[in-house]
């Protein structure tokens, strides 16, 4: 069994490929349009002990709560 990894597991400075978003349609459209698209590379810029994470996808910097980042599945094998 392979444990599905998600974006909230990544540590500061780590990168991974986005493989999918597990959210209701309306939320998924929003997250995709903000740059979280399948196949893109995401890098964790900040991950404070408390509070949201900062993620970089290409030219876009996003801040997002861990619970929302947990909806984004990733693959770290490159």
């Amino acid at each position: 069994m392979k444990i599905l990894e998600n974006l909230s597991h990544l540590r500061k400075g780590e990168t991974a490929l986005i493989t999918g978003i597990h959210a209701p349609d309306s939320m998924r459209y929003r997250l995709q349009a903000m740059g979280l698209r399948t196949g893109r590379e995401a890098e964790v810029i900040r991950r404070p002990r408390l509070g949201p994470m900062q993620i970089r996808i290409g030219s876009v910097n996003l801040i997002m709560r861990r619970c929302d980042a947990a909806r984004v599945t990733i693959s770290t094998q490159q």
Binding site: D25, S26, M27, R30, R46, S59, L62, I63, M64
Partner: protein, 595 residues
């Protein structure tokens, strides 16, 4: 009349482009099928009268958020000739799908590749000519902020508009192409026509964020920055406020007082002592509001607000709010009205309503005035600052309690995902223009509302005919006696109850109303206050003032922004109830303990 709609993602400089295209002539207007006001302006382009409409920033035409629905229903219900799609040149890979979405609707848009100067500095090279050929529509590089390429872009829009004929888009959602295809097409276009370094290095932004988003120092620095903004607003605002009050007084003496012998007594009293003095009190606060908006525009333009939201989000999440809500509560310590308008950035209605329910408990500058007067009159120099500090604590406590009580009912499942834009130096012209738009909006609303309130207050204190103005026998004093059963248990005397009615209109009027009612000022008024209340009653009175309702402007803004009488009614009922309960608890508790 031709019509041009401006569409784009947030943080693309869409409004900057709109402002440069239209100057300061824009106005807020209602549109068929759209429930919020949109900014629009009439300009002449190549001999055609053109109506330009600035639509809310959106990420996607598919979406279900309020803003996305607004854009969709606007495009469906209003005929348009062409669309200006503003894209951020540094993020074409991310933004081109939106442009493609619009291109496929059967309208030839003008694609405005904005912030081309920033892209240049970062080493991004865009072949706009090739993009234009591939998309079969004009693609114009420009910097809306600095004006580079703006004239060419405007000419392209002018050409498109003269050739185009108005189109209505029906059932827009059904025409949208599958996302995956659009993204693939955008990626192909970008890889062929855009040369960019693999990683955009924004050294300045990274260096500033290293300090301002520091895990330990970030939050203290944020509070320091906020403190400095408030200091600046009041240090600069107070002399301006006195200046406006002085000018209004000079005008009154020169132009209005000579009318006293010419007009019937009641009419003069109504027009000058009622209307002019009342509206003048509010007008003298306009400089502080103007400064407040300018500073807010600077902070907003710089990109720091998104950082503030980042820093405070974990605290606010526990209360069912988010980082942006905290920023607005702090704004409310200046004035609740702009803070309420600031919640427009929130997309979920539940989250927005909860934030709007909480903001009115922020101890605004008008309430601070009342407190400064009362604490100086009734407490020793060493007690006064402690009492004031206690009021600030009560303000935060009321806000947090409200969020806890209503958070469960106004639950939002909206993800907290915000774009973190790079820091930008605010452009003076943009800051001034934005400030001007907000001020015009404020004055329009304030004028109708405040005038009504002032007229009512004057009538209450001067009728029925024959009673002493402001004294016994007027409707106001009858109201004072009528409210006695409710306000007596919290230690507020009938005379002070009447003052609470004045304070309902605006807290700024409270001290002025005391002066008018008693005919006393300075130390004599302080002495009078001491006969009306002891220190326990004074604190109870101040708690009530803090919580019962900020002012009619705030109430009107809540109504305007929520477009719901029910919400405004709930908010008023909750704050009145909370005010009474807290004051009752404090006053009776202190009496039981023997104070």
């Amino acid at each position: 009349m031709k019509r041009l709609a401006i569409v784009g993602m947030p943080n693309t400089g869409k409004s900057t482009f709109f402002n440069r295209l239209t100057g300061s002539s824009s106005r807020v207007a209602n549109w068929p099928g759209v429930t919020v006001d949109l900014l629009s302006a009439n300009v002449v382009l190549g001999g055609n009268a053109v109506e330009v409409v600035d639509l809310p920033g959106i990420y996607d035409l598919h979406g279900f958020s309020d803003d996305e629905q607004v854009v969709r229903s606007f495009l469906e219900n209003n005929a348009i000739d062409t669309i200006g799609v503003v894209l951020n040149a540094t993020q074409l890979d991310h933004q081109l799908p939106l442009a493609l979405q619009i291109r496929k609707l059967g309208i030839r848009p003008v694609i405005l590749v904005n912030m081309i100067d920033e892209a240049d500095q970062l080493g991004v090279r865009i072949d706009t000519g090739a993009l234009s050929t591939a998309l079969d529509c004009p693609v114009m590089p420009l910097s809306a902020r600095h004006g580079t390429g703006f004239n060419d872009a405007r000419d392209a829009i002018t050409r498109e508009l003269s050739a185009a004929s108005a189109v209505s888009l029906n059932d827009l959602r059904d025409c949208l192409h599958a996302d995956d295809e659009l993204v693939a097409e955008a990626e192909a276009l970008v890889s062929q026509n855009v040369k960019a370094p693999s990683r955009l290095v924004r050294k300045m932004t990274e260096r500033i964020d290293h300090v301002l988003l520091h895990p330990v120092f970030g939050l203290p620095l944020f509070f320091l920055a906020m403190f400095l903004v408030f200091q600046a607003v009041y240090t600069l605002g107070t002399p301006l406020q006195d200046g406006v009050a002085y000018l209004l007084d000079v005008f009154r003496g020169l132009a209005l007082e000579p009318l006293e012998s010419m007009l019937p007594g009641n009419l003069y009293g109504f027009l000058v002592e009622g209307l002019y003095d009342g509206v003048g009190t509010v007008a003298s606060f306009v400089p502080v509001i103007i400064l407040f908006f300018f500073f807010m525009a600077i902070v907003e333009d710089s990109g720091y607000l998104a950082r503030a939201a980042f820093l405070t989000d974990s605290l606010m999440a526990k209360l069912g709010l988010d980082g942006r809500g905290f920023v607005m509560i702090l704004m409310g310590f200046g004035c609740n009205v702009p803070a309420l308008m600031g919640t427009r950035v929130m997309r979920s209605r539940a989250l927005r309503l909860l934030s709007m329910l909480v903001i009115p408990f922020s101890l605004c500058s008008a309430r601070l005035q009342v407190y400064l007067f009362i604490t100086t009159a009734l407490f020793t120099a060493s007690q006064a600052p402690l009492v004031l500090f206690f009021m600030y604590l009560a303000s935060f406590a009321a806000a947090f309690l409200t969020a806890l009580v209503f958070g469960r009912r106004l639950k939002s499942d909206e993800p907290f995902v915000l774009e973190l834009p790079p820091y930008r130096q605010p452009a003076l012209k943009q800051v001034l223009l934005r400030g001007w738009h907000e001020i015009a909006h404020f004055l329009r609303r304030a004028s109708t509302f405040i005038i009504t309130g002032v007229v009512l207050v004057w009538l209450l204190t001067h009728f029925p005919a024959g009673s002493t103005p402001g004294g016994a026998g007027t409707w106001a004093s009858m109201l004072g006696l009528w409210m006695k059963p409710v306000l007596d248990p919290i230690g507020i005397s009938p005379d002070m109850s009447v003052i609470l009615l004045f304070g309902f209109v605006a807290k700024e009027i409270v001290i002025g109303a005391l002066v008018a009612m008693t005919g006393l000022d300075g130390s004599a008024l302080a002495g009078y206050l001491a006969t009306q209340m002891d220190s326990i009653q004074a604190i109870s009175f101040m708690l009530f003032i803090l919580l019962y309702t900020p002012c009619l402007s705030t109430l009107a803004t809540q109504l305007n922004e929520s477009r719901s009488w029910k919400f405004a009614g709930y908010s008023l009922a909750w704050s009145l109830g909370l005010a009474w309960a807290v004051s009752f608890g404090f006053y009776q508790g202190a009496r039981i303990l023997g104070y």
